[in-house]
């Protein structure tokens, strides 16, 4: 669920402390983030849902549509008031029209924020020490700095994993859009999409991506960066935690910056980690769960939590935490939480888009070209059709 064990342990301890205080027996179950959907799906069908659980925004959207979550507007207001208000991004994310005007989850952190890592020890000698401001610059710097097969430039996954949906962000930076403003009609087939695909497949053809990117698993960028095989990666911070623990030299050679801009826009997606209460929880336990959520949001605990975790702040009061002003990665995370673009902006965040993303349609569109040798036009046409089929299904 969270990439840092230390942060996980802190939450478990805090919840147990709360349980002891309230005289409530609590069982905390950690599940692997990659398996949340399978596990919760089975639990819903079986009627064995927990009394409260953590989830991402996309999953909350899907669950709220079938009435699986309780509305928590009061609590959202209450916790916000107690901590100087929610960051704008949190308000914007929860305002998605698909939530139908209610708040179904209490954010505990800004997440999904990617920070760009770069290897200055390699890039400086070739005169490319500065943080790249655009995606195109990354390609240029990569070409200058890389030395295959020892190291390659662009360590971005193009496979069927969540990490690879970074390419949707790139696509949007080029001005491409998944769907129209109503969130009902797919608009992938555009000159912007074409321009983006020309750029990225060109970079692939030039050998700027490390080998294996088309089948990387969730840890592909991590492995590539730690083995010195990639000069640039975009990662929420787990790689930072890993190299801090295992490889100080590599940490020394790494600099962090925000995601760059594209030719049309500067997109730095921010989403939220939520805590939700299933509809199946009894009124009595719902009150307890709400109390727990408020208890977990207290600054004293969150400061300890945030310094172990790799998330951005969700509440104004959290911006004061030392970690968000000292640790290079966390400064980047806080900056993105404050100034980033909420959710799937500029696209409308709805269940159809969530399914588009869980089907990895953008990275697959790229794979169709670089792996299957489809023409850019054919790949766009095919993906546009698949995308429209998903949107149609959700608009029935």
């Amino acid at each position: 669920m969270i990439f840092s064990e230390e942060a996980n342990d802190a939450v478990v301890e805090r919840i147990e402390e709360w349980g002891a205080m309230k005289g409530v027996d609590v069982e905390v179950v950690m599940i692997n983030e990659n398996e949340t959907v399978q596990r919760i799906s089975a639990a819903i069908e079986a009627g064995t849902m927990p009394d409260a659980f953590d989830l991402g925004v996309d999953f909350a959207l899907l669950l709220s549509q079938t009435g699986q979550l309780q509305a928590l507007d009061d609590l959202y207001q209450q916790i916000g008031d107690a901590h100087g208000g929610w960051l704008d991004a949190m308000d914007a994310i929860l305002a998605s029209t698909d939530f139908g005007g209610a708040i179904y989850g209490i954010p505990y952190a800004a997440s999904g924020i990617n920070v760009l890592y770069r290897r200055v020890d390699v890039l400086e000698p070739v005169g490319e020490a500065d943080a790249p401001a655009t995606w195109q610059e990354i390609a240029v710097n990569s070409a200058a700095g890389q030395d295959p097969p020892s190291h390659y430039g662009m360590g971005f996954a193009l496979s069927n994993v969540g990490d690879a949906n970074l390419t949707t962000t790139m696509l949007q930076s080029w001005g491409g859009r998944i769907a129209d403003d109503a969130g009902t009609t797919c608009t992938l087939d555009s000159p912007e999409t074409r321009a983006f695909l020309e750029w990225i497949t060109g970079a692939f053809a030039d050998g700027l991506f490390p080998p294996g990117v088309t089948t990387w698993d969730g840890g592909g960028d991590n492995t590539a960066y730690q083995s010195g095989n990639a000069l640039f990666i975009a990662n929420p911070g787990s790689v930072y935690l890993n190299i801090r623990e295992n490889d100080p030299e590599l940490l020394e050679a790494t600099r962090f910056s925000g995601l760059p801009a594209g030719p049309a826009m500067h997109i730095v997606p921010v989403t939220a980690k939520l805590r939700g209460i299933p509809a199946s929880t009894s009124p009595e336990k719902t009150e307890l769960a709400k109390d727990l959520f408020a208890f977990l949001a207290e600054d004293e605990f969150m400061e300890q939590y945030m310094s172990a975790a790799i998330y951005g702040p969700a509440l104004d009061s959290q911006l004061e935490f030392a970690v968000f002003n000292e640790s290079p990665v966390h400064i980047g995370l806080a900056d993105a939480a404050l100034n980033g673009t909420p959710g799937t902006f500029p696209d409308v965040d709805n269940a159809a888009l969530a399914e588009y993303q869980t089907n990895f349609l953008t990275p697959r569109m790229i794979q169709r070209i670089v792996v299957d040798n489809l023409s850019i036009d054919d790949s766009i046409a095919e993906t546009q059709a698949a995308c429209q089929a998903i949107y149609d299904k959700h608009n029935q």
Binding site: L62, G220, N229, A354
Partner: protein
């Protein structure tokens, strides 16, 4: 056996218990012995099986209401390029894995059936890949094949045989062969051991007679060994085909179905469809696999018939 009063069968019947004749009591006893397994299978296989078929005709989402939409899910699937690819990939994967295992299985079993020293040792060694959890075996193969930190690329580059990484798992040409290789590695011991077992039951006299007739090694294999083990070969092919067709770990762990959809198989596709909570659709994917299994069932039925 939990019913001692019934296990006395015919004698009890003669004694007038329930006034059953011998035949009826034998039948009753037969059904009682079958009961536990039938109850288990009915609860955990047969009922869920029909339930899955039912939901594949609905647009049910997790936790949502089911609404009958006829063939809607199937029509949606047929239009997906991934679905077509997964049919092709599943067939290719199963065919080649089984073919290679058959050839290797027969070859290695013949080798081990020769007068060699330490036969016990070799037999134990052969079993190692099969004794390993599939999960472990395939994650190890992934570690061998990945470009970053993988053993094979390391060897090839160190020896100077290649000057750039070989994309075993991420190029369209090599991904499927890689998955096939790993699946064969993990699966062949079962074939070798089964064939070897069967070969050892072939009477020595048959070989001696063949030698007297002047048959060479190949002729002995063709005319003596093969006919004698024909039955077990068929059994192993069938059982193993079921395992391989259902296998999820190899593809899921090594390539996730990629690159693009080059290694996407049915079970992996079904797993992915669940990600978007459309259980009706996910069920349709697995139900669409049934015709393949129906063919297997038919083959089994024919074999059983022939035996009787």
């Amino acid at each position: 056996m939990a019913q001692p009063n019934l296990t006395r069968g015919p004698r009890a019947a003669r004694g007038g218990w329930l006034r059953l004749n011998q035949r009826q009591s034998e039948g009753l006893f037969g059904y009682i012995l079958l009961a536990p397994i039938v109850v288990c299978l009915a609860t955990l296989v047969v009922y869920p099986f029909f339930f899955a078929i039912y939901i594949s005709f609905t647009n049910r989402m997790i936790g949502g209401q089911a609404e009958y939409i006829g063939l809607g899910n199937y029509l949606y699937l047929m239009r997906q390029p991934d679905f077509v690819a997964s049919v092709r990939n599943t067939v290719v994967l199963v065919f080649f894995v089984q073919l290679i295992k058959l050839v290797l299985g027969l070859g290695i079993a013949t080798l081990l059936n020769q007068p060699i020293r330490f036969r016990q040792f070799w037999r134990g060694l052969i079993l190692l890949p099969w004794a390993m959890p599939a999960f472990v075996a395939f994650i190890t193969w992934k570690l061998l094949l990945v470009p970053q930190g993988g053993a094979f690329n390391f060897i090839l580059i160190e020896l100077g045989l290649v000057n750039t990484h070989v994309e075993f798992l991420s190029s369209k040409a090599l991904a499927m062969p890689s998955v096939i290789t790993a699946s064969v590695w993990r699966g062949f011991p079962f074939w070798v051991i089964s064939f070897l077992a069967a070969m050892q039951t072939v009477p020595k006299e048959l070989y001696e007679a063949a030698v007297l007739d002047g048959a060479n090694a190949w002729a002995r294999f063709r005319n003596v060994t093969l006919p004698s083990i024909r039955h077990i070969v068929l059994v192993v092919i069938l059982v193993s085909t079921i395992w391989t067709t259902n296998s999820f770990e190899a593809v899921f762990l090594m390539t996730g179905g990629g690159p693009s959809n080059a290694t996407l198989t049915f079970p992996v596709l079904a797993y992915y469809s669940l990600q978007s909570l459309q259980i009706g659709e996910a069920a349709a994917v697995s139900v669409a696999l049934l015709p393949v299994f129906a063919v297997l069932a038919l083959i089994i039925a024919v074999l059983l018939q022939r035996e009787n």
